[in-house]
Amino acid sequence: MTLDAKIPSGPIEQAWDKARFDMKLVNPANKRKHSLIVVGSGLAGASAAASLGELGYKVKCFCFQDSPRRAHSIAAQGGINAAKNYPNDGDSIYRLFYDTVKGGDFRAREANVYRLAQISVDIIDQCVAQGVPFAREYGGTLDNRSFGGAQVSRTFYARGQTGQQLLLGAYQALERQVHARTVTMIPRTEMLDLIVIDGQARGIVTRNLVTGKLSVDIADAVILASGGYGNVYYLSTNAKGSNVTASWRAYKRGALFANPCFTQIHPTCIPVSGDYQSKLTLMSESLRNDGRIWVPKMKGDKRPPNEIPEDERDYYLERRYPSFGNLVPRDVASRNAKQVCDEGRGVGQTELGVYLDFSHAIARLGEHTIRERYGNLFEMYQRITDEDPYKVPMRIYPAIHYTMGGLWVDYQLQSAIPGLFVLGEANFSDHGANRLGASALMQGLSDGYFVIPYTVGNYLATNKFAQVDEAHGEVRNVVASVQQTIDKLLSIHGKRTVDSFHRELGRIMWDYCGMARTAPGLETAIGEIRTLREEFWRNVTIPGSGSDLNQSLEKAGRVADFFELAELMCIDARDRNESCGGHFREEHQTPDGEARRDDEHYSYVAAWGYRGPGNPPELTKEPLEFNYVHPSQRSYK
């Protein structure tokens, strides 16, 4: 099998213009004859559904939450990048493109990243027009701040709630289309399978989470914007409901899963405090603008932080990376935190933590300024830890945050199944092996507002759609298989809860497929995952029925898919004999502990295909070409 990424020929600056010109259009009167399904209502899904509704398509948008406004994009704190160069500090589309390709450790597709950088400026305009209350200067212009992996200030923000405000903008645009009757919003409903007929994605099977009823929806194309899979680790900064099910069922129906082992571990989260812990809380990367990260120089130093004199502190990021300092990319910051903790210099009860200290910034700028910039984050920290970060340094530790891997898509954001498009975190396309801060919001909105409205139109204009209804044999097969899985889960009546399995799976993934990976470790993980999965299908217990609101059943279906994904992640991580970005293989590092890529052998996207239960997945490689940003060892020193 070969993969055609459909990258337009010619200079990269003109690629998107050329692609748009080459696309076929659907005439306005014909648009309402086409029906589209959007799964997910986060930044990518809501912006896609709203924009497609505005164009006149008949759109159905599904989310598992009670309202589209709950999608986890809402929790993004720090900001959104755009190459506006308002601060006059040397930014440009090319520089954002360059930083993103380099930040992704040369494992992203250049053409996609360039388009993302181009579109970034339109996103800000769009959001301002919607009334997103971005931070402003006194003169009324938009304010910017800095983020990791960049030496310019290009991050737009709305206090520490940028994701919330951008999502509410997209949600409001979506509700406007609901009012206009172009979009039907279907909340509390979960996609459980994809319907593929004659090689085209033609619909989905869903379960109403209140009544348990299974339904079939048929459309001319299906757009997945169902987010990332960080919850395979159980503890992550993802929302509790975030799951891989929609993507995974599409994978099992013929879509390819690309670079599943590329996961992002965010350096600044509140450390784990106990076994009961249900999730990890992120402290925005923007805090690294003014906070300084340090640990004691001495091992096992138990003194409270304020009693450790300045010359006995190790500001290890500033020491090792003088030019980027505390603003190194996330993968680098996380790995360094792990390293100092492994050396026995970690802080807090568990010794799995480092200090993020604002005392210098408060002395320099005053408490008022710090409160204005980060007040809500400081409050959140205090609420959870009962410590006052204005007085004592925060304790932070890395946690699973984002997944760069996802379903393989071409330049048009179409998966290997014609008619199945994948947007936002659910696809693999723009971040390579590491995502820079404030780039997720940019990608979600770029895909939804500005890419999919063109590419889906081209697909509709160039394909024919046979009449399909619920009586179609293939539709009935898919529904029957969904029902069978539900019945099977409910009939096990074992002894262990779904969460106990999920927690154990997460532990395996964190230990062997987390911040540092080794070939033998990944082998061990694959064995343990298989054993645990076998026990799951024999010993899980799910009270209640399938024809009712049943949160245990919902979780069980998601965890069943996480088991299968976990194995694929370990296979991918084992197969990639190099270190790059968030994928750190201990066997492949430079003498000073930095990631060592192997461009000669691994400069490709690993796209995995499903070959049936019990069979190993099939690897197809999409070679990556770098014609503009030439691969070099990333240096932030």
């Binding site: 309202s67 305009d125 301002v128 509410l168 609901v178 009012h179 209140v210 106990g274 609101l549 245990s552």
Partner: protein
Amino acid sequence: MKLTLEIWRQKNRKEKGAFVSYPMENVNPEMSMLECLDVLNETLIERGQEPVAFDHDCREGICGSCGFLINGVAHGPQRATTVCQLTMRHFEEGQKLVIEPWRAAAFPAIKDLIVDRRSFDHIIEAGGYISTSTGHAPDGNAILVGKEDADQAMDAAACIGCGACVAACPNASAALFTGAKIAHLGILPQGQPERDRRALHMVAQMNAEIFGSCTNIGECTGACPKEIPLEVIAAMNRDYLGGSWRKHDNVETTTIASAEDWGTD
């Protein structure tokens, strides 16, 4: 620590609910209220009983999914905190916590602590937006917004749509929720062209959803986890009055939430 949870259990909208008492041993004071319910649910499931159903998602206090009354107080005793971020250290050894869902006609019961808040979406649908389609926008800096205005708009826009304001209000009014959106968009220059229509349509929809009227009690802002100021209700009333005076177009409302169902009937 030891606690007793008295939790409202209700199988579905049609069946009657009742409080059930669950003694809890070994509650870690560092865990959140929702993690305490997780612990309870694990033991219920192990005993083959149905766990307590409750809405939750981000557990960072921003998605607005979670929320219930604890001893009659929406989101419990701590100021500006949702139940997902409320740690158990705020309770005393041996305390009894009565936990029940939001009670409002516009929020029909679904199961246990879960209620149907689609009425909030309907209010936004009626006009809680700026009518601009993708691609129409001028350059971001072409629209100047003074810092004070941007900050004030942000204060109102911080609403998470959890429903605590309605639950706290003796009249079950949604004035704080509706006012927050009207104020957010009404303060900004982008929001001016539709300012009258927005207030008229959103208020009409709010009334159609059978939320109660606001009588300026102020419980809503006290319970609000984002501390949305009471002034947004004044902003709503002012815009509504202005809109009524200038008599813009006829106001239609969309379907009433409680008339819809999830397909059980």
